[in-house]
Amino acid sequence: MDFDVELDTLGLQCPVPIVKTAKKMKELESGQVLKVISDDEGIQEDMPAWASSTGNEFLGIEEVDGAYHVYVKKA
């Protein structure tokens, strides 16, 4: 999937990946896509929930070598 900015949160536990995502999203412009890499299983539920409550668009998750690549588009 295409993306504009990448955020590596490997090894980090809840709530840090979401906190870092929220901070990183502030740097993006509307329409840009953030790719978050995480090995926290909880991210599968957390990121869609975070996106819907912040009004951003959750684009999907890919599982790559035991990690999750999560894509979110800034509203």
Binding site: G11, L12, C14, I18, V19, K23, T54
Partner: protein
């Protein structure tokens, strides 16, 4: 309008404080305006780790503040503390599992503009002055200030 959330942190134990701060940072990351109201034992979480407690005025408060020194490094576990042995084991496990420490979570919370409101009445009872609390405490408040915040909040938790 930004959604609000409040947490009353009444407990002064490491595990409960961690729960409070994980929830607070999670909600703040969701764009919510979060306030933590520290009362009674919860004040121990935001007491300075080092130095003398200057707020204790009479002998009872002085004795009390010795027995209840507080500070983030001194918080026990609510279960299986075992004189600190259980706590140090849990901290080792958490480090291995890469869970953020309580000081790191608190710093994250301040970074996300989570407001720290200590309860004035508890501070008076326990002999705690504002100088005894960590930096970044927004303001010392009473229950009315908390109630006004809670009335406008969607989520209100008591921990």
């Amino acid at each position: 309008m930004t959604e609000k959330a409040t947490i009353v942190l009444f407990s002064g134990e490491l595990d409960k404080a961690m729960a409070a701060f994980i929830i607070a940072t999670g909600m703040a990351a969701q764009g919510m305006d979060v306030t933590i109201f520290f009362t009674f034992w919860g004040l121990n979480v935001i007491k300075k780790d080092k130095g003398k407690i200057v707020g204790a005025k009479n002998w009872m408060q002085k004795m009390f503040s010795k027995l209840n020194r507080g500070g983030v490094s001194r918080l026990p576990l609510s279960k299986f503390n075992m004189g600190g042995m259980g706590k140090s084991m849990l901290q080792k496990i958490m480090k291995k599992e890469k869970v953020s420490s309580l000081p790191a979570l608190m710093e994250m919370a301040q970074d996300l503009d989570v407001k720290f409101w200590p309860c004035k009445m508890s501070m008076d009872v326990m002999g705690i002055a504002k100088e005894d609390l960590i930096d970044g405490v927004e303001k010392v408040v009473g229950v009315a200030a908390y109630a006004a915040e809670a009335a406008n909040a969607k989520v209100n938790l008591f921990i």
